[in-house]
Symmetry: C2
Subunit: 229 residues, 2 copies
DNA sequence: AAGAATGCGTGATTAATATCACAAATTACG
DNA sequence: CGTAATTTGTGATATTAATCACGCATTCTT
């Protein structure tokens, strides 16, 4: 999925940034909380933001992470009065924030730009619906496989012996995406390593048998084009 | 969640319908299949459409159902080249379909209308993300509870002794939303009946202890405003 | 470079769900 | 209406996954 800002013409890009306020956040800082009133939409100039929900003490569910040239806050700005996720900076980030009213005015005056926003949100919706399918329908092995496939679609580089994921992945991260215990994820991943389905240099994984994953998740029947986290 | 067409001014409403083609479909008919090329966006004048995915032989996952004055096809029109769900008419329905190109032109020329589309999609996205939370984080009892809460938000009428759901619900339908076996859903629902948490006159359910559900799903901490199926 | 903090692996045990196999209940329809 | 088709309930059993309890490995910090 293409980051929002990369979809825009220079003119639209500048229009948005000119009407926003620069804002620096440090690693670990919270930009907004679940239940907060919606004031702003955020563009990410540099950095990485994690959107998640708390589902219990010490239990979180990752909704998505967004990076450079992307944006967040659409679940909120466009869908109600309160944010329904928590937004935390994973690394030091430089954001531009735009007031809700301002964004609405800009989009009302500029249908072409608005259409890009709609597409961007609709692609997230497609990905979200496909995640439900994967996480729910094929047991925990399927859920973990789904996360790997999605990582590979986002950060994968095809090499002679498989697809290499260029971002580090922690077992815990995976479990926060799919709501499965860390231990179970660990066991599944290690079983795959033994069987030569994946390989890893510490946190960097290589998927050696994509077919195994695709069969597990019945991918041939699936028409999803935005298969990302 | 308000149906798309009810959000529009008369002018916009007419603009859309004037540029669409009327189309009747019978109960059980398929409007499009997963993997089909995207040609049209559909408005529902009357009827009810179910969007779903096949996840195996005799195994389906319901994505959502949409009814009168609503629309479908946004996952497709706005998100790629192919539909990634199957659309079936649950009852005889009268639709209006609009070519992809036409819709894009209308939205480009009419930012205010486009903003309504973005909101409509973003609300679905919020609901979808919240579903993942509910279905994944609180076991199968939580998943079933989530479906009941969502039904009650869509079709619930508050009565002195609880919330009455005005649409018939089959155990099987529930299991197709959450990917849990029919038998398990049946056992959970019957346990609740014994304990007086819900009551049913056949397929018509009354939720007598909403608090039980809300506690199960940690609803107080949840800022979701579009908690629907 | 040492100690603290965080993340991971793994066995044993318990708990939750799926599956299978029917019987009973309900609904559809000719 | 009465029969067929669909939907549901339920016990028994098999699987799957969570939990608990640690020790080991890795990474941060100073």
């Amino acid at each position: 999925m293409e980051p929002l800002l990369q979809r825009l013409t220079d003119k639209d890009y500048n229009l948005l940034l000119m009407n926003s306020r620069k804002m620096d956040v440090n690693k670990g800082e919270t930009i907004y909380n679940e239940g907060d009133m919606v004031d702003y939409f955020y563009f990410i100039h540099t950095g990485e933001i994690r959107l998640f929900k708390r589902t219990g003490p010490n239990k979180e569910l990752t909704i998505f992470t967004r990076g450079e040239d992307d944006a967040f806050g659409e679940i909120g700005i466009f869908s109600g009065l309160k944010y329904s996720n928590i937004a935390d900076a994973i690394i030091d980030s430089e954001l531009y924030c735009m007031e809700k009213r301002t964004l609405e005015n800009i989009l009302t005056d500029n249908g072409g730009l608005g259409l890009q926003f709609t597409r961007w949100v609709a692609e997230s919706l497609e990905a979200s619906k496909a995640k439900i399918r994967d996480y729910i329908s094929f047991g925990s092995e399927g859920a973990v496989a789904s996360v790997f496939i999605r990582y590979s679609n986002m950060y994968g580089v095809v090499k002679p012996d498989g697809v290499c994921i260029t971002e580090p992945i922690m077992i815990q991260d995976i479990s926060k995406h799919i709501g499965i215990s860390r231990e179970t994820v660990s066991r599944i991943v290690n079983k795959w390593k033994e069987r030569g389905i994946i390989d890893s240099d510490n946190k960097y994984y290589m998927l050696k048998k994509m077919d195994y994953f695709k069969q597990l998740l019945v991918c041939e029947q699936c028409g999803v084009e935005n298969c990302v986290l």
